[in-house]
Symmetry: C2
Subunit: 300 residues, 2 copies
C-alpha cells in the first residue's frame, strides 16, 4: 500500500497520495455528509405519510454526541417517528489500541494494536410490517494497513413481501458495484448471504444485499469511490422502497410476524454481528452500538 509522501502516477501526472490520517479525514467528512442526506431523506418520508393521525407528528432526528474515553467519539442521530418506529444513523471516528486478545483478529494490528476507524451505520425499523427493515454500514479502518468495509442488506418483515422490493434493492447495489468492478456484486452478494446467516436456525437474517470487508485494492481513491457508491445506492433505493408501502394498512397478525422476525434480527446482532462485537470490545458507546436493536421484538 502506498504510504504518505508516495505518488500515484497512473495518469502520467504525479498525484500526491494523501497520508493515512488525511485519507481518514476525507472518509470521515464523507460519512458525515452522507449522514445529513440520509437523515433528510428519512425525515421527508415522515412528512410523506398519507392521512397521518393528528396525534402522531412527523418524526425528526435527534442528535447526540458521545466521546470515547480511549480516543475519538461520534454522533448518534435517532428518530422515533410515525413511519420509523426507530431509526438510527450513527457516525463515529475512534482510535486507540486494540486489546491484546483482539489484535490477532485484525489485519495489521498484531504488532502494537494501534487503530483508527471511521464509519457510518444506519439501521431502520419501520412501524409497518409492510416496510422492510434495512441496514447499511460503511467504514474505513487503519492499522498498519488500511481498508474499507461495509455493505447494505434488506430484511422484509412481511410474510407476503413483494419480490420486487428485493429485486430492486439488489439491482441498485449491483449497479453500484458495476461502476467499480462487475465481479464485486456476485462476490459481495454471496459474502452477505454467508455473513447474515443464523446457523442455529439455518436461515438468513433477511434477503441479503452486499457485504465486503478488508477491501484494499492498493488504490485508496478507487476503494473510497466504491464505498461512496454503496452509500449513494442505499440513499436512492431505500426511501423508494419505503414510499411504495406508505399508507398501506396492516393486521395484528402481520404485526406479530414482524415482531417475531425482529426477534431473529436481535438474535443475529447479539450472537454473531461483527460490528456489535467490535463496538463492545473497543469500549464504544453502548447506546450507539445497540442502536440496531429493534424497538420491540417477540419470542412467543
Amino acid at each position: 500500500m502506498a504510504e504518505s509522501g508516495a505518488t500515484n502516477d497512473d495518469a502520467g501526472v504525479p498525484v500526491p497520495v494523501p497520508p493515512l490520517a488525511l485519507r481518514g479525514a476525507t472518509a470521515g467528512t464523507w460519512f458525515a455528509s452522507l449522514r445529513d442526506r440520509i437523515c433528510a431523506a428519512l425525515e421527508a418520508l415522515e412528512d410523506a405519510l398519507p392521512d397521518p393521525p393528528p396525534s402522531e407528528p412527523a418524526g425528526r432526528f435527534e442528535r447526540r454526541e458521545w466521546v470515547r474515553p480511549g480516543g475519538g467519539g461520534g454522533v448518534m442521530a435517532v428518530m422515533r417517528g410515525r413511519v420509523f418506529e426507530k431509526v438510527g444513523v450513527n457516525i463515529s471516528t475512534v482510535w486507540g489500541a486494540f486489546s491484546a486478545d483482539f489484535r490477532a483478529q485484525i489485519p495489521g494490528a498484531a504488532e502494537d494494536g494501534a487503530f483508527w476507524a471511521s464509519g457510518i451505520s444506519v439501521v431502520a425499523h419501520p412501524r409497518s410490517p409492510k416496510v422492510p427493515a434495512v441496514h447499511m454500514n460503511t467504514r474505513h479502518i487503519v492499522t498498519s494497513r488500511a481498508w474499507f468495509g461495509g455493505g447494505a442488506d434488506l430484511t422484509p418483515m412481511w410474510a407476503a413481501a413483494p419480490a420486487r422490493d428485493t429485486a430492486d434493492f439488489h439491482a441498485a447495489l449491483k449497479a453500484a458495484c458495476a461502476r467499480s468492478d462487475p465481479g464485486y456484486y456476485p462476490r459481495f452478494k454471496q459474502w452477505c448471504d454467508e455473513y447474515f446467516f443464523l446457523p442455529h436456525r439455518g436461515e438468513t437474517r433477511g434477503v441479503g444485499g452486499i457485504f465486503y470487508d478488508h477491501l484494499d485494492s492498493g488504490d485508496f481513491e478507487r476503494d473510497f469511490a466504491f464505498t461512496r457508491d454503496v452509500g449513494e445506492a442505499f440513499l436512492a433505493i431505500y426511501p423508494e422502497l419505503v414510499r411504495r408501502h406508505l399508507g398501506q394498512s396492516w393486521t395484528a397478525a402481520e404485526r406479530e410476524h414482524q415482531l417475531v422476525r425482529r426477534g431473529r434480527y436481535a438474535e443475529f446482532n447479539l450472537l454473531y454481528d461483527r460490528g456489535t462485537q467490535f463496538g463492545l470490545r473497543t469500549g464504544g458507546n453502548i447506546e450507539a452500538i445497540l442502536m440496531s436493536m429493534p424497538p420491540e421484538a417477540r419470542w412467543p
Copy 2:
C-alpha cells in the same frame, strides 16, 4: 473420582457407588420429577389469580419431546397463561462428542470430547411487571470427569420492587447451601453476581442468587443432595414471591420498564450465557435453548 465398581465406605459399611451411567440416570430421574412438581406449582398460580378476566383461562403447560440428532433429547414444557406470559421448564439428557474447538473449554473433554449431560432449566417471564422473572437450572455433566452445576437467580422487572422479595429469595438459597456447606452461599452468591453481569452496561442482570459449576467434591451423593436442595429451595420460594404480587395492577409505564429490563435479559442470554452457547454449539433444540428469551422486549 471413584469409578464404577468402587465402593464408598465412609459409614463403615461398604456402599456400592453407582457407575457413571447409573448416577446420570439417577440425576435424570430427579430432574424429571422436579419438573413435574414445578409445573404443578406454576399451574396452581394460574388458578390462584384473583378476579381473572373471563377471556383469560388459566394457563396449562404443553409438553413437546425433541430428539437430538447426535444423541439424546428432551422434553420442553411451555405455558403461556394469564399469570405467566411465558414460562418454560425443560429437561434434557444429551450425549455425544464435543466439537474440536469446544473440547479445550470443558474439563475432562480434551481427549475424545465424549460427554453426557442431563439437566433441568426453568425460565419464567410473568405478565405483571410486579412479579419478578426467575431462572433456575441444575445439571449433571459427565466427560472423563463428572460434576454438577447450576443455580437460581431473580430478576425484578419493577423499578419499585420490594427489597423483601430479594431478601427472601436469597435466604431460601442460603438455607439450601447451609445444609451442605455454610461456605457455599457466600462463594456461590458471588459467583452468581459475577456471572450474571453485563460488562457492556456495567450492570447485573438482576438481583442475583447463587451460581455454581464443576462441583465435584469427590462424593457424588453429597453433590447430588446439594443440587436437589437447590431445586427444592426454588420450588418453595418462587411461587411464594409470585403469590405476593398476584392481583396487583400495574401502569403502562411499569410495563414499559419491564419490557426494557427484558431487553437487557435478552442481551445477557445471547451475548454471554454459557448455557445458551453450550446448547447452540452442541446442536441442541433451538426452541428449547431459546425458551429463555422474553416473550416481548423493547429497546426504545
